[in-house]
Symmetry: C2
Subunit: 337 residues, 2 copies
DNA sequence: GTGAAAGCGCTAACAC
DNA sequence: GTGTTAGCGCTTTCAC
């Protein structure tokens, strides 16, 4: 395995000079640098990251902690982090909780994250209070993407506004009887996004002085399956049923769409359906939604982290991401309107 | 920052003993071990991975090279790798190509992958011939998941069989005029999966002595959007149109479903649709498909890698993963049958 | 602009 | 069962 001193010897310089030359530091004459780069090249020299990590204390690696990796938001976000990172020669170390929420014994202070990364990007997830504390205890740039976490900087859309605006869209179309399908707001866990969206729904409904039928409030877990299941329960409601259903995610809304079709419920004639997210499937299915871009949110978060690492103190801060109501074919005025 | 000798001093032993105790190596008396673990605990000691990487030459990190991270197969697979890895204290370093295929200047021999990982898991993707060569040149356990790559061990389903069996399912139902929607088989790139699936389609059709209308062969890129687009072109075919369409992925099949609905084409009455993959959306939509499980395929691949690293030579080998035809509501005998 | 040498914090012989 | 010590391969003062 060719090391730095092999290069040094071959180029007739010291290891210190090789080190500087390779890393593009100043104080190396152009001629020397060129020669070193050339010898390094044909010796096939690749610096040992382990050695330089040890010497510098920097890992040039960012950790990404994600509750899931095979769900829309998270996949998109991870792609964003990766883009930003690899452009700059950083590595991405992925920690996937795989939906596990129980035995994450002190995740953050443990070897897992500690000393293996220079900064941490947390993807919106449920956190136990003590986990949040651990999070704050690690001395490392930290940002969360996709939802607020107490005491942390985060980048993401205004979820309240998102839920509110799709509900208002429905109301604006003339719907007076609206069903809600939201994510479960397990109180024990600080997964605030579902809760915030629920508030947006509720406030929009109440502001319009409409009644909210408690039987028409369904809970899902942001998956298609839970959308299907919710629609099944929807069909058990006595007629007249709500003329619209507002879902807290596109995936759930798609489930609703699929199950509606199965029951011969026409969308939007019999039922208007809206989601939140901007999932590609939703676009193809003609789903009205509030669009957001997890990839660029994650890029933004990563940029902040990198800037902070680079010494720009205060680079990490909360930022609200763009969102946009996209009206497609799944919404229309109610039949009787 | 508390280091190994702080622990050694506090526990009144040598660093060597601390090292053994922490890593659970033998030759440490239970009493000593307990005391060391305790002091380490309350000193908040976390070993420096950089130092131990340097000393051992092992990174305890597996690299995952993926063309995409926000697509079904890849997200599922990454989740699988992660499960297997974190259970055993390994790290997952993610390299996402983000669909980029052009400027991947000698990916594998570069610092990117080199010396940063102990093994590489490659997720099924297009590879330039020289990239395959570079791949073989790196001296590191390697396995590919999700599709064959020349000269590499791989785990994945039999794509030929998958395509063949969904096509035969259609034929068995009585369809005589079948459209095909396959992934593009860019000849320049060794992304063999699309090609293999195409062959499966074709052979099944020919074996049944049916004609294949070249105009009824569409190409997509495995996305929903391309399914929508293909269905649009399908509708431009002169009647009588094919009574079924076999798609090389569920995502494309879903696109077909969405667009069919838009044109008032009833599935399966007017058109039977099949996919390949076992996407959750497909399940909810009632799509007939050949199911596969990328997560367990990736776990399997990871296990092999880990075994190989562990000294079990020959642990990495090719393996065929399970697949299963799942008949749902999107297929039925043709109307005229 | 370049070199010598002292670490960085562990691990792995080897000795006891 | 435990301690000593020499590295692992870089980076980084500090001289020159």
């Amino acid at each position: 395995m060719v090391g730095i001193d092999d290069v040094a010897a071959a180029a007739g310089v010291s290891t210190a000079t090789v080190s500087r030359a390779i890393r593009g530091l100043p104080r190396v004459s152009p001629a020397t640098r060129a020669k070193i780069l050339a010898t390094a090249e044909d010796l096939g020299y690749v610096p040992s990251s382990a050695a330089s990590r040890l010497a510098t204390g920097k890992t040039r690696t960012i950790g990404v902690l994600a509750p899931y990796v095979d769900r829309w938001f998270f996949g998109k976000a991870i792609a964003g982090v990766d883009q930003e990172l690899h452009e700059r020669g950083y590595n991405l170390s992925l920690f996937n909780l795989g939906g596990r929420i129980t035995p994450r014994e002190r995740l953050f202070s443990r070897s897992m994250v500690h000393k293996q990364i220079d900064a941490l990007l947390l993807l919106c997830m449920f956190l136990h209070p003590e986990e949040i504390d651990d999070l704050h205890a690690i001395d490392m740039p930290l940002v969360v993407v996709g939802g607020p976490v107490r005491g942390c900087s985060s980048v993401g859309i205004d979820d309240y506004l998102a839920a509110r605006s799709i509900t208002q869209h429905l109301i604006g179309l003339g719907h007076r009887h609206i069903a809600l399908l939201h994510g479960s707001g397990d109180a024990e866990l600080n997964f605030s996004v579902p809760k915030i969206r629920v508030e947006g729904f509720h406030d929009a409904v109440h502001d319009a002085e409409l009644e909210l039928n408690p039987d028409a409030e369904f809970f899902g877990n942001f998956t298609v399956e839970s959308g299907v299941e919710a629609m099944r329960r929807f069909m058990e409601l006595p007629e007249p049923r709500p003329t619209a259903i507002a879902c807290a995610s596109d995936e759930m809304a798609l489930g609703v769409l699929f199950e509606a079709r199965r029951h011969g419920v026409r969308v939007p004639e019999d039922l208007s359906v809206v989601g939140i997210d901007g999932h590609e499937m939703g676009a193809s299915a003609g789903l009205t939604t509030v669009w957001q871009d997890p990839t660029s949110q994650a890029r933004r978060g990563t940029q902040m982290l990198l800037a902070e690492i680079g010494g720009e103190i205060g680079a990490v801060h909360s930022e609200t991401a763009v969102q946009r109501l996209i009206v497609r074919e799944s919404t229309a005025p109610p039949a009787a309107f």
